[in-house]
Every structure is written in structure tokens, then in C-alpha cells.
Symmetry: C2
Subunit: 752 residues, 2 copies
């Protein structure tokens, strides 16, 4: 270079030619900049122009030389902080370059670059903290597993042993006929191991242990989910409908054979035209007193039974839900045992079964449609625990209201709404184990000049997976709680427990849906290959949000129950008055009475479990009171109740969700309080904090609207969520390993 | 009944025994209530107790009689508003029943019921407004289709005609070998119709019409998406890589055969260890000057090419991306044509191809891995538009920086980031058409005693689907805009257009992911059956968020581009100063200077398109300035730029999203401004308002934190979103029909 002063321009030349974000416009900018510096001689100016002539780029070697010069200069003088200093050092005459510091700053802006960034990227990157985060093991993984498994540890272990056997290798055939047979064979093995009849009375070969049955359902869900559903249809829906709706004569006749899978059967409730609104079923069971029989009949095509598991191939009998007609009078929906096929698998006369065909998932389950053309069954086939036809041919029931009897019947089947969310939970655990293990191994990008970094070190990636890990732990404890409540239920609690089950079914299955979606995307192309099992996990559980009660419909039910409970709990006082009182009071309580709390952002407060639960409770109560008030107002203003509930449907979902989130947080907190091991307590507390704050962040618009928090606080919470993700990251792999999913079940090559 | 006065209690008895929400506790409550009424004689009291004895329920007939009595009373006196009045009418002595109005109100509360609700449910439900909403046709559907299709109407029509032919009946085999051949055959038909080579130069048999090529990609996406991807791999990725990265000699040799599908090929970029970070590819192309050849080599297993479409079965050649090594020096990633198979399909020596196996979707595409064991190719196989080896064996390039050259090469391939979001858009349209048509037909639940109601009449259901319908229209116009920008691009705009394409690719594919998920759930079990096609649409497009650039990574790139543009646009002023100025100014502009606007909730304002776009722009600018400020602060405080960007990754996503939402809204608004037909303009304006307000509602936490809106306004917006959904519902079916998707492509039995 003719004039060493001109070396001051080297960084600019280099940036211009190397940075892919600079465009032609910036060449002009730099040219104008040079022109504006009056001290440069025409000769030098021409030289400078020659270096930024877009039609005449520098040679590759020249560019490399510039880069080397810059790198060397920065290496020699690490104190260099900006381009001005760099330019000075390069020209070797710090005080005598053509341009001032402010000139350079202005130029940086014009070029849209950040000088500090450029300089830093030339320095050695040994101290990148992003790169340095890594997996550690701060606690005894097995201790967590023990806490998670609880009293069911033994049966869980047994199930894991069985499903890890070679004969449980995953079916890879895409032929659904093959797949269905494999799943059926697996069910037979499980029956032989006395796992299917676990909930049945001992006198019919069962284990009389419902707690273990639920644990079996959940543990099986680490394996193929078609297996779980086929298993659940046979032993849960079919067997339990006989047990819950039938009486001793039915138990004696069927339960043993159902438990051994000698008698495969179906649960035929849903019809094409009636899924959510089961009360509207149209299949009829007409009593004929002459020969003491019922005639089961499908009045039209859209009243056929649909999506019935075990129907397309294996089912020999079904519990069929149909409107009972006696003497021309409709007594509402009741249940009947109807034979479908003989032992050789031939469909019986009057029965038409069609295959539902290929589905998004669960293709190992043989769903079908069933139509009945005046099929005659004996009187004793009516499952007569809650209703019957007496010897005189008259309808009899201990429950006078058809409506109430119907819901009582459904109430006995609530077990499905515990089995399904627990199965969904297991699927979420599998997905997270695969995604987090892989993300800890997979490296992509890295600091300039350094090696690539595990993708789990990226903040975005942590934000995608770790709050879900926390949520999964939270849901685990909440489902344990639900199960315990169910097992120890009293008559008076049934309403509440049914609502809780309906709600947790929605909460858990939606959670799993979101988790598996995020897992799929977070692991990219590998997540799309079936061998890594996100495919099956995701598509199989996709229908969990629909079957056993559509989630959106269930959430409306939960909200109605909450509204009813709310009204009862304030029975002592006036009606609208109390609602308004609670609503207004809740609204202003924190905002006006304690302005400090709405703005508190210190770590101690943000991580305080009392702050968390109070915030959840406040939200739950306020939303509930607000919904109650709105409905009352709408009805008072003359709206049909049906229309009023339609107008507030969106709020009803919020009512249910706020309730469920409070229960989930509460149960997670209770579970942690009971832990003694300090390290376990510490890491689970962090997860709990992450769950709590991530939910608050998700709901922050509500907290801001309500005035319970101010912007300064919600912003601090967002930062804290990010920080907790960062803090938990080193333990993330250990935390998924604590789920203790058999490696043969995980099976994903990327999760090794 | 002994005493007619006691009939006042009938409603309570009825409620107690019929309402499935009342539990044993309420029996006690009612008993205590009766005891507390001192005026009742012991005899009457005993009678009353007998009616609420849980061990002795009323007969079914008695319950029915109560119900009939109540119904008759209400029918005779429609003015009855609450249980007290009902009780009075029943006892026929209004002023002389045992209990007062406040007693009844208290009891209602204790029982958790709402008297008005109970009464209303006994009345005839002819006037339910929920039930009355129905599909209408207020505008000329074909006019909307014409606007959507625009200048490409002719080619769109041609493609629709072709894919509606009988030979394009969907493949139903689950055997992926069969499926792949079907898709391959379909591609051959399309090639014969001169659809594949549409973008190639006319002198090589092409149509030289890139606009039509994109329209073809989008329209084909109404059909099988494996077909679209296989088509895109062959004619887009493989053909366009030759056209974009090669020179005349390559065109002459290959383009004609590629366009006719005589020469099926691959685009081999991604490696197992390098997907997002393509710059880190490890395959090598080593130049040997002696024989003027390159040796293509896979150094280790994780450097094999992976997920390569057309590789597993059909591909005969591939554009392979590899690091060019000349004289031991690494010149970065370049592209080479490498033969894989002979015309008979035999894999050539040195090439190892494995099948990627079953995938979540797109199983009609034969993805595979490719390894090269020192495969020798002639020098002319280097695609040498941007770099070459000269006659002396030296590396040459018009672009001196490896980095910049690499991004220039990638920039020429940006067309894929237009084709994919447009394909995603078409899939969303298919899903919405199926879901909305079905929801208009499907009835479930209804007012007490009335017939069942189309589920699209439910507010929740509208909220699930209609904002997405609005978004789909919005994205349509934004992608039209992107395409036009791309087709008319100048050198100076390339950066911006590349960023816009990357961003719109993410925005559209994520949108489609969300839409198809909601469609699946909104149509319940029917959505799970493969025959209704949500399965294929959802699983096939699932990978769209990953391939052609991982969405999360792309969003970071978009944000970096925005930051760079931001810095440039304020180049005239100081650096940190200006950032702070913009940031603070934006923050306080509305909040402090115009407190009325932050609280304005009148309809005129909420529906004003200027309010919408200003709110979007404000968000875009503020988030961008805030991110710029934060990064500068972090770097100034001594953080590595790499670490600083990691800390703000979450904010970077927001930067990109806010930018894209503004572009999408703006383009939708522009499109509407150009419409003349009043009715079309009216309905599209409503959709536009719904899109705008639904996005603001989604982002309301941000607006509240920022102070741009107050709670009263965000709550009003939520209501307005619900109202717009309700208003648009009658036109929803017409609006999906305007997409004009061939019925044979929709194919779902539920969408007829």
C-alpha cells in the first residue's frame, strides 16, 4: 500500500467484501465517505476507490491478507474495542488518520454494522459461555424414579420387564393387517401375565387392584400406543363396562373370559351422528315381553356405531349403548351385551361390520363401524345395575331421572379419563427423553472460530423444551393425585372427581400434543423419520384430545361444575351481590391495596412458591367469578341459557384451565414438600418454579389486564423463565433419564 | 298431595332428583331448609322429608309428573322469572307459601343453581339465536377466486384439469414402494404436460415463466403433497441448481433431460451432521490437476448426505455440495454434478445409497442417504457460475469472500422458499375447506328441547377456525406480494427479498401447522380417519417447518437482517443515542401523548384499518429498537457477540414475527383497496379486520406491557374478535369454496 495511513481503511474494505449483509448501496456510502474526507490526496483517493469498485473485486488472496492483517492487529492489541481504534492501529499512526472517531461511528451506522461485534468476532472464543454449558449429574437419578413410581414401583417394574422382551420388538410393517395381529398377540401375552384383569374381582381371576391397573396402562404407554388402546378397549372399556354397569350374573358369565382374552369385545357407544352428545344416541333396544328379549336396531346409517375398537377384526361381543324402548316408551340410553361374531370370527346374522380403514395413528387397533338389523338378544343381556325390566315387563330403576341415571352410568366409566391422561403423560415423557437426549448430543453452529455447540445450549431451544419438561413433572404429580382421589372417592365427592378427571384428561392430552409437536420440530429432520418414534408417539396420541370425551366439550363440563360449586360455596350470602363482591374485590385486592406486590421483581419474590400459588388462585377465583357474573347478566337480560353459555364458551375454557393449572401447581408443590433428599428437592423445586412462572408468562396478558401485575413484573418473569431454563439445562438429561423408560421402548437411534 | 301449599316445593324436588350436578350434600341442605321453616306442620314436614330421602327415590312416574306440572305452570304463565314465582304459581296461593323470595334465592345459592336458567330451560326454544345462524351466500364466489388466482388463472386452471384426471386418483396403498412409483408416474405425466420445465429457458424446452412455475407448485399442492415435493426436488431443486449455479455448458447438457424427467436427479446438500449450518458441510471435492478431475469423498459416516429426495430409488445424478480443495487449500462449499446410477438404475461404483425408510409423511418421496467413496468426476461437472478452477489449476471466483460467495450461491436458490410457503398455503386451504364444510353440516347438542345445532354455530368452534380462515387469506396476498418482489428483484433488493422469503416461509408453514392441527381437532374423530385427508395434509406438511431452512433458524436470520437495516436507516444520526431515542419515543408516544387512544374502544376505531396497521408498525419498530439496544448493551458490557445473540434469541424471533405480521397485514390491506366489487370488498374487509384484531389479541400482553393499549381496550378487542367470527360465520362456507379446490382433490367424504 502506497501510504500506510490508508491502512486505516482496511477494516472497511474487508467488511464490505466479506459481509453478506452489505449490498451495493453500501459501496456507494463508503465512496461518498471517502470523497467527504478532504485531506486525502487525489492519488490516494483513486487508490481507495479502486478497492471498492464493485466491478473489480479484490483477489481472494488480497481479501485473505486484509483479514490476516486485522486479526494480527487485534491479537497484538486486545484492548481494541472499536473500528476507530482498529483503524488507528492498522495505520500505525494512531493520531494521524484521516477520519475521526465520530466519523467512524457514523459510518458504522450507515453500513448497518456494529463495530464491537466485528472486533469481538476476530478474537479467540475460548470463553463463550454458550459453548461451555454441559450435562452434569448433580443428584441420584434413581431417587427421583422412586418418587415418581411411588407405591406402584413393583408393578411398573414387572410391566417394563415384560415389554422389554424380544417378542415386543416394534412392528415395522406398514400393512395394518399384520400390525393388528401383532398388537393382538401382545395383548394375549399381557393377559397371560395377569395384567389385563388387574382391576377385576379376585373371584373372577382378577387382581382387584385398580391402582395397579392404571400404572399398567401408563407403563405400557412407553411401548406401542396401539397396544395400550387395544389393551384398554378389551380390559378397560369392554371389561369394566360389564363390571360397572352389569350385575353378578354378568360377572360370573363374562369377566373371567374377558380377563384372559378368551372373549375379545368392544365398547359400542359412539355413533356417526352422536359422539359428544351421547344422550342423543339413536340405536334402539326394544323390549318384547312375549319372549323376554330385546331387539337391537340401527334405525339409519348415521346411527351406526362408529370408531369402535376391536370391532373390525377381533371382537366377539360388545357392550352396546341404546335407547331402551318398553311399551313404546323411551327410557333413555342403557347398555346391553350383544354378540357380534362366533368363536371362529364369523360375523353373526343381522350384524354388519365395516372397517374404519387407515387412520392417522393407532393403526394396530381394528376400529370399525357396527350396524344392527333387528338383532335379538335375551333379556339377561341388559346390563342392569342402574336400570332393568322387571318380571312384569315394566321398567325399573333406583334412579328416577333419566338424565341423572345416564350421568351416573357414565360416571362409573370415569376410569378411562384417568387411564388416557396417564397414557398421554407417558408419551410426553418418551418424546422429551428422545428430544432432550438428542439435543444434548446434536451440535450446530458455534462461536466464530470455535467448535459447534450442543443445540440444547441455545436459549431458544431451551425455551422450547425445558418448560415442557417442568410441565410434565407437574402433570405427573397431578395425575397421581387424581388417581388417589378416584380410588378413595366417596359418593359426595363424585361430581368433583368426575370434573377433575375430565379436566385433567384435557389438560394432559393437550399438553402431550404440544410437547410432541415441539419435540418433532426441535429435533428437525431426525424427528420426521419414523425410526425415531416421534411420528408414532405424535400420531397415536393425536386422537387422545378427542376420544374419551372431546377436550373442548369436557372443558365446558368442568367449567359448569366449577360454576355450580362456586354458587354453592357462596350460598350463605346473596346471589348477584356476592358474585360482584368477589369479582370486584379480587380485582382490586392486589392492585390497589398493595401496589408494591404488583411491581415486585426481586428474585426471592419471583421464585417464592407462595407468590406462585397465590397468583394461580387469584386467577382461578377471579375468572370464575367473572364468568358467573357474565352468565347471570346475560340470562337476566333475557338471553336463553343455551345462548348465554354459547356467548361465554371462550371464558368457560378459561375457567376450567385456571382451575386445572391451580390444581397441577398445588399438587406439584405438595409433592416437593414431602421430599427429604436435599438435592432432589432442589432440582424439583427449580422445575416447579419453571412450571409456575412459565404458566404465569403464558397468562400474563390476563394478569396485566387484571392489574395483578404490572409490566415491570411480567417482563422480569419472562427473564426469570429464561434464566431457569439455563439453570436447569445441565440437569435436563438426568431429569428425563429419571423417567426410567426402557431403552428398548425408546428405541430411537438418536436417543442412545 | 295433602296440602297444595306443599306444591311450592315441587321445583326443588324435581331439581334435586333430576340435576346430575346435585350431590348428597344438597339433600342435606334441602332438609335443613325445610326444618328451618317453622310454619310447616310435623305431618307436612314428614311428607316433605319423604320426598328427599336418598334411600327412597320417587318413582320415575312421579318425577315425570313433577316435570309436567312445572312445564305446564310455566307455559300458562310465561312471565314467571324465578323459582319463587314458580313455587307460588304451583301452590296456587302466591302470597301464602311457607317461604319468602329471599329464602328461595338463598336456597338457590346453597344448591348452586341459577333459578333463571332452570325456568328458561322449561320454555320453548324456538328463538335461540345460536340455532338460527346459517350459511348464506352474499357474494359472487367466482369473483373472489378470480382475485386470488390473478394473472396465473390460466395455468392454475390447466393444472387443476390435469390433477383431476382419473389417473390422479389418490394412492391408498400403505406400501411405500407402490406409493413412490405412483408419485413418480404422476411426475412423468406432469413433465409431459410441460409443467416441470416451466421455469427453464425456452431454448431448452422450458416455458421461461417462473411466475407460472410457482403457481403450478401451489396448485399441485391441492393434490398429494408427496407429488409436490417429488416434483419440486426434480424440477426445482435439481433442475434449478443446475440453472442457477451452472453455466451454459451445463444447461445444454442437462436442462432438457431434466425438464422431461428423462434425467431424474437430486439436490444433495444436507449431511447428517450439518443441516442448518450448511457452511459446515464436510464432504470434500478435491481437485486433481493431473487428470483435471474432482474426487468427491465422504470423510466419515456423519458427513453422508441425508434426507435427499429422489435418492433412494429414482435419482441418476445429483448436485452435490462439497468443500472444494485445491492444492490442499479449502475454498469453501461449492456445487458439483455427480452421477449416482446408470439409466437402468444400478448404483455406480463408489456410491452408497441407503433408504431413509418410513417417515411421518411424504412417503411417496424416496429420501435416502448418499455416501461417496472417492468418486471421480470430470472438471466440467463443477457448477461454475460463481467459482471455478482455471486452466492453470487455480481457484477463481468473481466473489473474493468465501462467506459472501456461499451466501450468493444460496441466494440463487431462494425460489424454494417461495414454493414451499405457497404449497403450505394450499394445504391450509384444503384443511379449512374440509373442516368448515363439515362444521356447517355436523350437528351436536342444541337448546333444551330443540334440534341439534351445526357445530360452526358454537362460539368456541368459530374461534378455532375463522381467525385461521382470515389468516389464510392474509397469507395468500402476502405470498403473492413476495412472489412479485422476487420476480422483479434488483441486485440492491436481494438481501431484503431473501429475508422476506425466509420469513414468509416460516410464517406460512407455521401457520399451516397450526391450522391443520386445529382442523383435525375441530372435526373430531372424523379428522382422524385417513379418508378425510387431514392425516396426509398434516403429516406431509409437518416437515415444511424444517426443510428449506429450519423455521427457528430462518427467523434468526430475518431478525439479523432487520437489525442491520435498522442500523442503516438511522445511519445519519448517532448510534446508541438514536436507538434509545427511537425506543423511548415509541414507547411513550401513544401512552403519554394520547391517553385517549390507548383506551378507545368504540367500534369505528377498533375496525379502522389505520388503527390496525399503526399498531402493527408500532410493535414492529419498538421491538426492533429494543432488540438493537439490548444487543448493543450486552456487547458493550463485554459479552461475546455470539453469546449476546444467544441471550436475545427469543427477542429475535419477536423481531422477525412483528415484521412479518406487519407485511402480511399491509399486503392484505393493499389487496382489498384494489377491489371494486362492493360485496367482495365488504366480506374481505371483515376478514382483514379479523386477521388484524386476532393478531393484536394474540400479542396483547406485549401491547399492555408497552402501554400502547390499556386493559379496557384489549378486552374490547377480544369481544370484537368473537363478534367478527359470528358475523363471518354465515359466509364461511362460501369463503372456502372461493379457494376453488377441485372436489377430486379434496376427496374427503365429510367435505361433500
Amino acid at each position: 500500500m502506497k501510504n500506510t495511513k490508508l491502512q486505516a481503511f482496511t477494516p472497511l474494505f474487508y467488511l464490505l467484501w466479506s459481509d453478506d449483509l452489505l449490498t451495493q448501496k453500501e459501496f456507494t456510502t463508503l465512496k461518498e465517505f471517502i470523497i467527504s474526507k478532504t485531506g486525502i490526496s487525489p492519488e490516494d483517493q483513486e487508490y481507495l476507490f479502486s478497492k471498492i469498485d464493485i466491478s473489480n473485486p479484490p483477489s481472494r488472496n488480497e481479501l485473505a491478507q486484509w483479514k490476516a492483517d486485522i486479526a494480527k492487529t487485534i491479537q497484538n492489541k486486545p484492548s481494541i474495542k472499536n473500528i476507530f481504534e482498529l483503524a488507528g492501529s492498522l495505520s500505525e499512526k494512531d493520531s494521524d488518520i484521516y477520519v475521526s472517531e465520530s466519523d467512524f461511528l457514523k459510518l458504522e451506522n450507515d453500513l448497518g454494522i456494529l463495530g464491537e461485534e466485528v472486533i469481538e468476532n476476530f478474537k479467540s472464543k475460548a470463553d463463550s459461555f454458550t459453548a461451555s454449558s454441559q450435562t452434569t449429574n448433580n443428584f441420584d437419578i434413581q431417587k427421583i424414579t422412586k418418587i415418581l413410581d411411588g407405591e406402584q414401583a413393583e408393578i411398573i417394574k414387572k410391566v417394563k420387564t415384560v415389554i422389554s422382551r424380544p417378542e415386543f420388538a416394534y412392528e415395522t410393517s406398514t400393512d395394518i393387517a399384520v400390525y393388528r395381529e401383532t398388537v393382538y398377540d401382545w395383548c394375549k401375552i399381557l393377559a397371560k401375565e395377569n395384567l389385563g384383569n388387574m382391576a377385576y374381582p379376585k373371584r373372577y381371576g382378577g387382581g382387584e387392584n385398580i391402582a395397579d391397573y392404571f400404572a399398567i396402562m401408563e407403563t405400557l404407554s412407553y411401548h406401542d400406543l396401539s397396544l395400550v388402546i387395544k389393551f384398554g378397549v378389551q380390559f378397560g372399556l369392554w371389561g369394566m363396562s360389564v363390571q360397572s354397569l352389569g350385575t353378578e350374573k354378568h360377572y360370573a358369565k363374562y369377566l373371567y373370559d374377558i380377563g384372559t382374552l378368551k372373549l375379545p369385545g368392544c365398547f359400542a357407544m359412539t355413533e356417526t351422528h352422536h359422539g359428544s352428545n351421547v344422550k342423543g344416541l339413536e340405536t334402539t333396544a326394544t323390549y318384547n315381553h312375549n319372549d323376554q328379549t330385546f331387539t337391537i336396531h340401527t334405525p339409519h346409517e348415521k346411527a351406526q356405531k362408529e370408531y369402535i375398537g376391536n370391532a373390525a377384526v377381533h371382537g366377539q361381543m360388545a357392550t352396546v349403548f341404546a335407547k331402551l324402548i318398553v311399551d313404546g316408551h323411551d327410557y333413555g340410553v342403557n347398555a346391553f351385551i350383544v354378540p357380534l361374531r362366533d368363536a371362529e370370527g364369523n360375523t353373526l346374522s343381522g350384524i354388519t361390520i365395516c372397517d374404519c380403514g387407515h387412520k392417522m395413528g393407532l393403526n394396530g387397533v381394528d376400529n370399525g363401524t357396527i350396524s344392527f338389523d333387528k338383532v335379538i338378544i335375551p333379556k339377561e343381556n341388559m346390563l342392569d345395575r342402574f336400570a332393568s325390566v322387571n318380571d312384569k315387563g315394566e321398567f325399573e330403576s333406583p334412579i328416577p331421572s333419566d338424565n341423572r341415571r345416564f350421568f351416573t352410568m357414565l360416571g362409573t366409566l370415569v376410569g378411562g379419563r384417568i387411564g388416557i391422561p396417564r397414557s398421554a403423560l407417558a408419551a410426553a415423557k418418551s418424546g422429551l427423553t428422545i428430544a432432550i437426549r438428542y439435543s444434548d448430543q446434536r451440535r450446530q453452529f458455534g462461536p466464530e472460530g470455535g467448535s459447534e455447540v450442543p443445540i440444547l445450549n441455545y436459549r431458544m431451544h431451551q425455551c422450547r423444551l425445558l418448560p415442557y419438561l417442568a410441565k410434565t413433572y407437574a402433570v405427573h404429580f397431578a395425575l397421581q393425585y387424581l388417581t388417589k382421589r378416584f380410588l378413595n372417592k366417596t359418593e359426595a365427592e363424585m361430581q368433583e372427581i368426575e370434573a377433575l378427571a375430565a379436566g385433567m384428561k384435557s389438560y394432559s392430552t393437550w399438553s402431550t400434543r404440544d410437547i410432541l409437536q415441539e419435540c418433532r420440530e426441535a429435533i428437525g429432520g431426525k424427528g420426521y423419520l419414523s425410526e425415531n418414534r416421534i411420528d408414532a408417539l405424535k400420531n397415536d396420541t393425536e386422537i387422545y384430545t378427542t376420544f374419551e370425551g372431546d377436550n373442548t366439550v369436557l372443558m365446558q363440563l368442568v367449567a359448569k361444575n366449577r360454576l355450580s360449586e362456586f354458587r354453592k360455596s357462596f350460598g350463605e350470602m346473596g346471589s348477584l351481590g356476592i358474585i360482584n363482591y368477589v369479582y370486584e374485590n379480587a380485582k382490586t385486592a392486589i392492585a390497589e391495596k398493595n401496589p408494591i406486590a404488583t411491581r415486585r421483581t426481586d428474585e426471592e419474590h419471583l421464585l417464592d412458591d407462595q407468590f406462585h400459588i397465590q397468583a394461580f388462585i387469584h386467577r382461578e377465583k377471579t375468572i370464575l367469578a367473572s364468568a358467573a357474573r357474565r352468565i347471570k347478566k346475560l340470562v337476566d337480560s333475557g338471553l336463553e341459557p343455551y345462548d348465554a353459555f354459547n356467548v361465554v364458551q371462550h371464558q368457560m375454557i378459561d375457567v376450567a384451565e385456571a382451575y386445572l393449572e391451580r390444581v397441577v401447581l398445588e399438587q406439584f408443590q405438595f409433592a416437593i414438600q414431602a421430599i427429604e433428599d436435599v438435592k432432589i428437592k432442589e432440582i424439583l423445586t427449580k422445575l416447579n418454579q419453571l412450571y409456575a412462572l412459565a404458566q404465569i408468562e403464558k397468562n400474563k396478558a390476563w394478569y396485566l389486564e387484571d392489574g395483578y401485575m404490572e409490566a415491570v413484573k411480567t417482563k422480569a418473569i419472562r427473564k426469570m423463565v429464561n434464566q431457569l431454563c439455563w439453570d436447569i439445562r445441565p440437569d435436563a438429561v438426568a431429569l428425563v433419564n429419571a423417567f426410567d423408560i426402557p431403552e428398548s421402548c425408546l428405541a430411537a437411534p438418536i436417543a442412545v
